[in-house]
């Protein structure tokens, strides 16, 4: 996914910061980033998007999940220069025109939200799953969420919410809602 951008990344090895351009929640974004900063740090601190949460900072807990070029990634272990030329989707990009995405609505309605700290990451992992598999089984959902830790909910309601959102999305015109 990132190999085409390695040219830039290679140059970045000898400088402290590098200019990158990428699509963020549908908008072209050009910024200078430190070569040692993670995507999570850039999103949160440079771009003020605190919806991507940090926790383990080792790629283990999934709280920082965002979608890069259609794949769910742990943004805490993606170096910012790696997303040059990529399409990045964060939790802030889900709701459109003030209307919640069906996954977000399903989380609320199923009672899948408690402390909320894992919620952004869970929703993004779910979104990535549904972009690839519009009719997932419960096992598919649990496998997709296996890298997202939650301590409050016991997961059952989260799985149910994703399943419910999948069904809702299937009844919506595929052209008007992208996955």
């Amino acid at each position: 996914m990132f190999t085409e951008q390695n040219r830039n990344a290679g140059r970045a090895m000898v400088t402290d910061s590098i200019a990158i351009t990428f699509t963020l929640n549908g908008a072209t974004t050009s910024i200078d980033v430190s070569c040692t900063h993670t995507l999570a740090k850039v999103l949160r601190e440079q771009l003020g998007l605190i919806g991507t949460k940090i926790s383990c900072e080792q790629g283990e807990c999934g709280a920082c999940t965002v979608i890069v070029d259609g794949k769910a990634v742990n943004s805490c272990i993606v170096l910012a220069p790696e997303v040059d030329g990529c399409e990045v989707l964060t939790i802030e990009g889900l709701a459109q025109h003030g209307e919640l995405h069906p996954i977000q609505t399903a989380f609320i309605e199923e009672g899948a939200v408690q402390c909320g700290y894992c919620t952004s990451g869970m929703i993004m992992s779910a979104k990535a799953l549904l972009m690839e598999n519009s009719d997932p089984t419960d096992l598919d959902i649990r496998e997709a969420l296996a890298g997202n830790l939650c301590r409050c909910t016991g997961y059952q309601r989260i799985v149910r919410a994703v399943s419910s959102a999948a069904k809702k999305l299937q009844t919506v015109d595929a052209g008007s809602m992208k996955g």
Partner: protein, 356 residues
């Protein structure tokens, strides 16, 4: 303990329900077992909670409490209680939490106490507002006697029909100067002769049952079903209450089957971090079912009790009991890792292939 608040609730009903929900008595394959256990705990004795409710000029309300929100849903529960007492839409209630300069003293958000203690304080603060509104209405001649005050739809019914709270304040205090403040307090009963300083306000009682399948060859315990029945008095918000109970069950699953901090002999912690310290993931969860017993017998608002912590207590005995039922070994050390179960099976001669 003799002399303490009797442990309340209908335990026979709870046990029967938990047993029925896990399929107690249904035929089962070999290496499958079922277990059941009861958990009890009490909140913090002799504790204090205060609340303040402010009715603003436009009839909206802020409720200030020292309780904090950690996902348990207290913010929503207090808004529901306030809306119910004040007869105003819940959207017009804002709950401000955990600021010591804004809120009056609250001991702690802990011990499953907040719905009962702070809920009672919130209720009292809102009732205080109604008393003041009644007095204002009488003084304005809107009603004859305070005892006759009737509240509905954010209005008080006067001689000329309903008057909104905001309109009442405007007439009494002047345009946009209207605010009245209500206070409420809960104080748990102190008892210096009690070892914990006071009697228990209530008992949090849960009935947990489990169905497991044990792999004799590896010792792995697969929990197929986990059930929790809770005595909640009344669930102010049933969805939130059930969600809390489910979470507690899986927290219990973690500590029963997989969690342990490992220290070496020199005292160094070896498994800090999510990679080496195993908590349940979405791949580990059994079928979870919860049931709320609502006998409206709690000391809290509308008969509520406290919830949220109970389900974690009885998971380990229920699962350990089920393991015994499945393969006949009693294990008294947590967690029930595959190694521990396998060792117990082999020590008792019950190990080997799963067909036996």
């Amino acid at each position: 303990m003799p002399g303490d608040t009797p442990a309340d609730g209908d335990w026979r009903e709870g046990l029967k329900k938990a047993a029925a929900m896990v399929g107690w008595g249904d035929p089962k394959k070999s290496n499958v077992g079922r277990g059941i256990a009861i958990g009890v705990k009490t909140p913090i004795p002799a504790s204090v909670s205060n609340a303040v409710a402010k009715l603003c000029a436009d009839g909206s309300v802020t409720v200030a409490v020292g309780t904090t929100e950690m996902g348990q849903g207290a913010r929503t529960v207090f808004a529901q209680i306030a809306a119910e007492v004040l007869r105003i839409p819940v959207e017009q209630i804002k709950v401000i939490m955990g600021d010591t300069t804004v809120a009056p003293f609250d001991l702690a958000t802990a011990g499953s106490r907040s719905t009962v203690t702070m809920g009672t304080a919130v209720m009292a603060a809102c009732e205080d507002l109604l008393i003041q509104l009644g007095a204002i209405a009488r003084e304005l001649g809107v009603i004859d006697r305070e005892e006759d005050a009737e509240f509905a739809n954010a209005t008080i019914r006067g001689h000329q029909g309903p008057i909104s709270y905001g309109e009442l304040l405007k007439q009494y205090l002047g345009t946009l100067q209207g605010e009245i403040v209500g206070r409420g307090m809960f104080q748990g009963e102190k008892d210096s002769s009690h070892p914990l300083g006071g009697l228990s306000d209530f008992w949090e009682v849960v009935f947990t049952s489990a169905e497991v399948e044990v792999d004799r060859a590896t010792g792995k315990v697969a929990v197929r079903k986990l059930v929790n029945v809770s005595e909640v008095g009344l669930a102010i918000n049933p969805l939130q209450a059930r969600a809390q109970e489910e979470g507690g069950l899986i927290m219990g699953l973690g500590h029963t089957l997989m969690e342990e901090l490992v220290y070496d002999e020199s005292g160094k912690l070896l498994n800090a971090g999510p990679l080496d310290y195993r908590i349940p993931t979405a791949m580990d969860i059994p079928t979870i079912e919860t049931h709320l017993m609502e006998n409206r017998d709690g000391p809290g608002p509308f008969g509520a009790k406290g919830i949220g912590e109970g389900p974690v207590i009885a998971v380990a005995p229920a699962i350990a009991d089920a393991v015994y039922d499945a393969v006949g070994v009693v294990i008294k050390d947590l967690p029930l890792t595959p190694e521990r179960v396998w060792s117990a099976l082999n020590a008792s001669g019950r190990g080997g292939k799963n067909g036996n």
